[in-house]
């Protein structure tokens, strides 16, 4: 404990001190450079710590993982595309691919759809900020805590026993159930139930951004529509929704990436059992439980390949934005 305390103080004071010291040091070093070269050297010195971190923790490891995905369970045994062939022929791996696709589709539809609904409705009531906080607050907690919370929602006891899970309790009032929510893999229903947990967390994200965009739409425009006799639904479809569309696209790309990276909920709630694995959790399982780093690396590369188109989309949108600046 005392060792930790000393380290904590050293880190809290020392690290900012050392980093600021580094920046002062660059100015001293630049004094030795010829005056004309200084403005050209300076930005690189300022960016050096960041570029080092990015290279060591993102770029270089990613390159190594791509190379590793062409090797077998043992490092150095070149196996060509075997790991990828395994991925597209093994039942378990294909199930993780199917589930990741379900996550992308359903998380985006539920979170963006409900987020849009709440953003539009909440704009018309007096308790707007309270309602927003209620929907938004799950985003602040960990997926682990969310998993625990929903564990008691989905809890299941065998028929005849008193049900302890909230949903089964509700079903039993109507004489239905009990349903073992996390084990029914027909139609991948248990995966959908896991997605519901994530949607419970991420709807608030979509709502906050869409709500901010909604406030930016001029009321005169809406009034003009209403004066012309448009119903509320027509105003929404004809004016509000088209104006919100760019923001919907932004929110959707973020949520698609979140869905592809989703790991925690699956790990905490089912650990990938009952056919609920996604690519991200399968990668951890292959690498660390089964110790097949070749398979694990291939899964990581497939995840990366799935995200690259979205990244390209993001970058082109970003450059368009920069052009307007």
């Amino acid at each position: 404990m005392d060792g930790r305390l000393i380290t904590a103080i050293v880190v809290l004071v020392g690290v900012p001190g050392a980093l600021l010291g580094y920046i002062y040091l660059t100015e001293i070093l630049l004094k030795f450079a010829p005056e004309r070269a200084r403005p050209r050297l300076r930005p690189w010195l300022w960016m050096l710590p960041a570029l080092l971190f990015l290279f060591l923790f993102l770029i270089f490891p990613t390159i190594l993982t791509i190379l590793r995905s062409f090797q077998g369970a043992l490092e150095g045994t070149f196996v060509g595309l075997d790991n990828y062939v395994w991925f597209f022929t093994s039942g378990d791996a294909l199930i993780s691919l199917r589930n990741s696709a379900l996550w992308v589709v359903f998380l985006t539809i539920i979170a963006v759809g409900l987020g849009l609904l709440v953003a539009v409705l909440v704009d018309r009531v007096r308790y707007e900020s309270f309602a927003k906080s209620v929907i938004f607050v799950p985003l602040a907690i960990s997926m682990t805590a969310a998993g625990v919370i929903w564990r008691f929602m989905f809890d299941y006891q065998s028929p005849g026993q008193p049900q302890t899970g909230t949903l089964n309790g509700i079903l039993s009032v109507f004489g239905l159930g009990p349903v073992s929510f996390l084990q029914v893999d027909t139609l991948a229903l248990n995966t959908i139930f896991l997605i519901v947990v994530m949607a419970w967390m991420w709807t608030g994200f979509a709502m906050v951004i869409l709500s901010a965009a909604l406030k930016g739409i001029s009321t005169e425009l809406l009034e003009a529509g209403r004066v012309d006799g448009a119903t509320e639904w027509q105003v929404f479809r004809g004016i509000v929704f088209p104006l919100l569309l760019p923001t919907v696209a932004v929110v959707s790309t973020t949520i698609v990436i979140t869905a592809l990276k989703a790991f925690d909920i699956v790990y905490v709630m089912t650990n990938g059992n009952f056919s609920t694995d996604v690519v991200a959790s399968r990668m951890i399982k292959e690498s660390f439980t089964f110790g097949n780093i070749g398979h694990g690396s291939a899964l990581a590369v497939i995840l990366l390949l799935a995200i690259i188109p979205i990244m390209a989309l993001n970058i082109s949108r970003f450059r368009a934005q920069e052009a307007i600046r």
Binding site: I141, F205, I310
Partner: protein, 298 residues
């Protein structure tokens, strides 16, 4: 978020309200109230269950405790606090989170300043590349980094997660700070340079203090991200040094262990949520600004 004066906004809201017919208004309230109940119900259930004995949790639903005899008790909370593991994990969480929040802010601020106020060839291209790194899945980095840590002999140390979280957090941090610093008025920096200020002085005396709103938003994000992180801690600390594990991993292990201890889950989850919720409710303004500032611009 454009700066619409409050009074004007209130009028606008009123006009929106007045426009909808009465039956529609009831539908609006009904939908919102139903959604709010759905959103609160899971947490209320866990809260009630966290106050029940393990026998009650296993034999009846939490809602039965809403009616007398409730049988509610704080025993589970005192058990969690007294039981060494989770208290230690709480300290570990803090110990992981605080340095891993501070380091990337400084590193990103230097880079963001260079990207905003220094000219060099390839500046925009490099910035786009950094933004592109935002989406790299952490999974593609784990195994090589883990091997590297092993070769350096620091596997399982807190240092590994501090460094890793700094690397992983930098693309977003640089993006957010550069957007904010880049929109500061040019004249401020020009006049400082004319007065003979060095870039270091301009950065420490002008750019940093003026960027406090963005730095606050970033600090909150990075704090919540690391405090809530399961995966990075699981991979870099989990196998090697279990005594260094943060709350998220300890709780996740508790859920997956079928051998009881379920009555501790609720209190443990609430203990882990306490800090994020305090941060969220006291700094909500910055939090929302960080989100909307990152996604909707202009």
């Amino acid at each position: 978020m454009t700066a619409v004066p409050r009074a004007e906004q209130a009028v606008a809201t009123q006009r929106r309200r007045a426009a909808s017919p009465r039956w529609g208004r009831i539908g609006v309230h009904l939908t919102l109230v139903v959604l709010m109940v759905i959103w609160l119900l899971p947490t209320i259930g866990l809260l009630v269950n966290s106050l029940r004995s393990s026998g009650d949790i296993a034999s009846s639903g939490w809602w039965t405790s809403l009616f007398p005899p409730t049988g509610l008790t704080l025993d589970n909370y005192s058990a969690v606090i007294q039981q060494g593991g989770l208290g230690d994990a709480f300290v570990n969480s803090l110990f992981i989170t605080i340095p891993a929040t501070i380091i990337p802010i400084f590193v990103a601020a230097f880079a963001a300043y260079a990207f905003s106020w220094m000219n060099f060839p390839g500046r925009n291209l490099l910035f786009v590349a950094v933004v592109g790194l935002l989406v790299v899945p952490l999974q593609t980095t784990f195994i090589p980094i883990l091997q590297g840590f092993g070769q350096l002999g620091i596997a399982g140390d807190f240092l590994t997660v501090w460094l890793a979280h700094t690397g992983y957090g930098l693309p977003f941090a640089i993006y957010l700070l550069r957007n904010f610093m880049g929109s500061l008025p040019r004249e401020v920096f020009e006049s400082a340079y004319i007065d003979g200020a060095s870039p270091v002085t301009a950065f420490i005396r002008l750019a940093l203090p003026m960027s406090i709103p963005a730095i606050a938003a970033l600090a909150i994000f990075q704090f919540l991200f690391i405090w809530n992180d399961l995966l990075v801690a699981l991979i870099y600390l989990g196998a090697v040094r279990p005594e260094n594990l943060p709350m998220t991993v300890v709780i996740a292990n508790l859920v997956n262990s079928q051998g009881g201890g379920w009555e501790l889950l609720g209190p443990a989850a609430f203990l882990s949520m306490a800090l994020p919720l305090v941060v969220f409710f006291s700094l909500q303004r910055y939090f929302v600004r960080g989100i909307t500032g990152g996604a909707v611009k202009g």
